[in-house]
């Protein structure tokens, strides 16, 4: 009985493993076949699109090479005058709605479209198809997160900001964020940035905040830089919500603002000087002022360096680096003091900043002589790197 049980179990496992093995082998062939099918599908889309633009040679590379001159706004308009081509376009639109419901068809279609994006005619074509993509957006709203993510990706490519409001599309995309994966959320955010709707971006952030969803601040701040509308207007809108959102989101906004040319110094100085501002935010504000120099702030930063070097090393580390953007005798004096800091990183940044503010050679030598052993070491090393010509 026991032997039978063991045999039975091992036969069972063996059967499952063989099934897995055959699945793998079959999948390799399926993948190869699928790749061929996808290529055929892409070819059909190429032909169809080329037909719309009255291409004579619609095959593969020829389409790629030839579509550009004929994809002009004028060519597209001519072909969509009432008549045969207009009828063809209607058929095409119907096919879009029918075929692109299937993810494989959407992948094939997108592989063709990605090659054509950016030309005037294609923008007009996509504009004409907007209603169809709205229809598809609703369709994909009922799909699993993976497919929703892909559709959002497609929209981010097809509908960049052109001054046209796309309220319906952004509302549908915002709904994609329900029960979404991090990839789906990221693609939806990218689509919203591309569409250039500040209100929608704000709503998306509100959604993330209200559900306590983590989205990397780095992804958000870099993503915001791809926003196609008025970045400063967006920054001000998002900044106005800072008190309602979690620390991580606000940090993303500060990092985004830091990369812009916009002047937020008044707002940031106020926040920096508040006692209850979090450490991460303080770092971000100081980095902003390292990049966007405000001479009036120099005294404050120098005072902070002196104050924090004793109490909060991490802030002193950032300030000692930021002071490199604020040359002057008082800065040099503060940095010279920081060279004697207990913190290795403060010393290192102070040495780098002393060089950045362009201290004359003789003055630098005096600072070197006046420093302790650790200060000398770091100053020597930083000086070597300055003259590194490699």
């Amino acid at each position: 009985m026991r032997r039978f049980g063991i045999n039975y179990m091992i036969y069972f496992y063996m059967f499952i493993c063989l099934t897995l093995l055959f699945f793998n082998i079959a999948y390799i062939f399926y993948q190869k076949r699928r790749q061929n099918i996808q290529e055929i599908r892409a070819m059909h889309w190429k032909k169809e699109l080329a037909g719309l633009w009255k291409e004579s040679d619609c095959t593969g590379q020829a389409f790629k090479e030839q579509h550009e001159p004929d994809c002009t706004r004028q060519a597209f308009k001519e072909q969509h005058e009432p008549g045969c081509e207009g009828q063809a376009f209607k058929v095409h639109k119907r096919r879009l709605r029918r075929k692109l419901k299937r993810i494989d068809q959407l992948i094939a279609y997108n592989s063709v479209m990605e090659d054509c994006l950016g030309t005037g005619g294609v923008s007009d074509y996509l504009e004409e198809c907007y209603e169809d993509f709205l229809f598809l957006a609703v369709e994909y709203g009922n799909r699993e997160a993976m497919e929703r993510a892909f559709f959002a990706y497609v929209i981010s490519l097809y509908y960049p900001y052109m001054g046209t409001p796309r309220k319906q599309m952004v509302n549908i995309l915002l709904k994609y964020m329900d029960d979404a994966t991090v990839y789906c959320r990221e693609n939806v955010l990218l689509a919203l940035y591309a569409i250039g709707d500040a209100v929608a971006v704000e709503h998306a952030f509100m959604y993330l905040d209200s559900r306590g969803l983590y989205h990397s601040p780095k992804l958000i701040s870099d993503g915001l830089m791809t926003y196609k509308g008025d970045k400063e207007e967006l920054a001000r809108r998002l900044w106005s919500k800072r008190n309602a959102w979690n620390e991580s989101l606000v940090l993303s906004v500060i990092q985004f603002v830091t990369q812009l040319d916009a002047d937020f110094s008044e707002e940031f100085i106020g926040e920096l000087q508040k006692d209850n501002t979090s450490l991460e935010h303080r770092f971000a504000y100081i980095r902003y002022f390292q990049r966007h120099v405000k001479p009036g702030l120099k005294g404050y930063l120098i005072d902070c360096l002196k104050q924090y070097d004793a109490s909060n090393n991490s802030l002193a580390i950032v300030i000692s680096l930021a002071l490199g953007s604020y040359p002057g005798e008082d800065t040099a004096l503060a940095l010279e003091g920081a060279l004697q800091s207990k913190s290795w990183y403060v010393r290192k940044n102070a040495a780098a900043s002393l060089l950045r503010i362009g201290l004359p050679e003789d003055e630098l030598r005096r600072v070197y002589e006046a420093s302790d052993r650790y200060g000398k070491e770091i100053l020597e090393y930083v000086s070597e790197r300055r003259f590194d010509t490699v």
């Binding site: 063996m14 493993c17 994966t181 992804l219 070597e384 590194d388």
Partner: protein
């Protein structure tokens, strides 16, 4: 007496059947979960479900090197071909007796600098520091007194400038997208403190500018069998353990760590042979003891091609070290064993490594001893034993084959029909012979333990030549 013998054999029989069944179930679960996960990952990648980003965050790559004059230049050159935007390379020459430092300085025209290095984790003093820039990437070479791999990595941590560091071996090569892929889990989840990548056998691949130019199984049987073994172990157990944050090992050949947390636990242990495993278990223990939200991830799409021993002597040296390292780590963290505070980590992960990795040679020797005893006492059912052995071997071979083909399809690697046949033969050979060889090595690992418990042993390195991998015309 007769009753005692009967009880003994019944007990041994039940123990072994339970032991094998548990192992078979574990292997099956891990291959099935692994296959499913890879299938899902591949699908996600096809439909842009990934965090493709222009720039992630800066990473310090630490390359400890001890007598690596044969491979070091090629390794660093391969690191310069990565697609990643911002990283630095830190090579730590751990007191090599060969020309590792000289070759590096000559080849990259490095300049000696008087760089002070802050020791946030313990390590031997540096003797000299060299720096240069190549392809706009900062390369630092630190020559230090010999202190072991853990010590060298600690020096690298001390010298690194960025918040995340990636450790790798000097004889390994990364694919051009490896760093990009290994950092993605960190972008997905802020609680990720470490990510392990997939290690594959470098002797099987031909790389050109960080991309796979060809893949073939070498004629050296030892290499081919190790290729099979790596594929199975990295597909099987790692993905399953990853599903409940239970991985106890991130290979020292390729792993990404959050520096802040590693510094908080004191860096690498300098007095163990398994510093990579020790660090990961230490991170688990530290984060759980401090009730920190944390995850240690395994990213199968981040690939590192690492040289494996090509001779029995080298293999013996490597596996002895691994086994002793495993023992040292399991002993040091024995409080994890079945401890409810550590959840599945203390039960499934720890018990798996204890029963099926550390104790398996002893258990298998005990099994062989029992068989001999049974033969002597005329109590052996030879038919049943052979049948079970054959079934089990076939089962192991099928699993290895599954893992191998899984890798082929998930990475779109093209291999020749000849290699497919060779792979099938090797899957069987690996289960019939290689397993026994490894058992022998692991059984003898403890000989002379007191004297040689910190001795790494030497492994001969070979220069990886570029060439054409796709010599066979018929490819799948």
């Amino acid at each position: 007496m007769e009753q005692f013998v009967t009880c003994f054999f019944t007990g041994v029989g039940v123990f072994f059947l339970a032991y094998l069944l548990l192992y078979a179930s574990y292997l099956f679960a891990s291959v099935a979960v692994g296959a499913f996960q890879l299938y899902k990952l591949e699908k996600m990648s096809q439909i842009k479900n990934e965090l493709k980003h222009e720039f992630y965050f800066p990473v310090s790559i630490l390359v400890p090197a001890y007598n690596e004059e044969v491979t070091i230049i090629e390794s660093v050159e391969s690191l310069l071909n990565l697609k990643y935007k911002l990283y630095e390379i830190i090579v730590i020459d751990d007191g090599s007796a060969d020309r590792t430092t000289e070759l590096m300085v000559e080849h990259f025209q490095m300049k000696k600098v008087s760089r002070p290095i802050r020791r946030v984790v313990e390590c031997e003093m540096q003797e000299a520091v060299y720096e240069c820039r190549a392809e706009n990437i900062k390369i630092t070479l630190i020559r230090k007194k010999n202190g072991g791999k853990g010590d060298a990595l600690n020096m690298g941590i001390n010298a690194s400038e960025y918040p995340y560091f990636l450790c790798m071996d000097a004889d390994s090569m990364l694919q051009d997208d490896s760093i990009e892929r290994i950092v993605r889990p960190v972008m997905e989840d802020d609680n990720v403190v470490a990510v392990g990548g997939l290690i594959r056998v470098a002797q099987c691949v031909v790389m050109e500018n960080g991309e796979i130019a060809g893949y073939h199984l070498p004629w050296n049987i030892l290499l081919s069998m190790q290729a099979m073994e790596y594929d199975r172990s990295f597909l099987a157990s790692r993905i399953l353990l990853d599903s409940f944050n239970g991985n106890l090992i991130i290979s020292g050949a390729f792993g990404l760590f959050k520096k802040e947390v590693v510094v908080a636990v004191g860096g690498y242990d300098r007095h163990t042979l398994g510093e990579d495993m020790e660090l990961v278990v230490k991170l688990h223990a530290f984060c759980r003891n401090n009730q920190m939200g944390y995850t240690i991830r395994y990213e199968p799409s981040a690939i590192c091609w690492s040289q494996v021993p090509s001779s029995f002597k080298d293999l013996k040296s490597q596996r002895r070290r691994w086994h002793l390292g495993l023992f040292q780590c399991m002993w040091k963290y024995r409080h994890l064993c079945l401890n409810s505070r550590y959840g599945l980590l203390g039960t499934i992960s720890y018990m798996y490594y204890l029963l099926y990795e550390l104790c398996s040679p002893a258990i298998e020797i005990f099994g062989l001893f029992t068989i001999l005893l049974a033969v002597l006492l005329g109590r052996l059912n030879v038919g049943f034993m052979l049948k079970l052995y054959l079934l089990y071997t076939a089962y192991g071979a099928v699993l290895t084959m599954t893992a191998f083909f899984q890798r082929i399809y998930s990475q779109n690697v093209k291999i020749s029909v000849g290699d497919i046949v060779k792979a099938c033969v090797m899957c069987v050979a690996e289960n019939v012979f290689f397993r026994l060889v490894l058992d022998f090595i692991r059984s003898t690992a403890f000989f002379g333990y007191r004297k040689r418990k910190l001795v790494w042993g030497k492994i001969k390195r070979t220069k990886l030549e570029e060439g054409d991998a796709n010599k066979d015309s018929s490819v799948l």
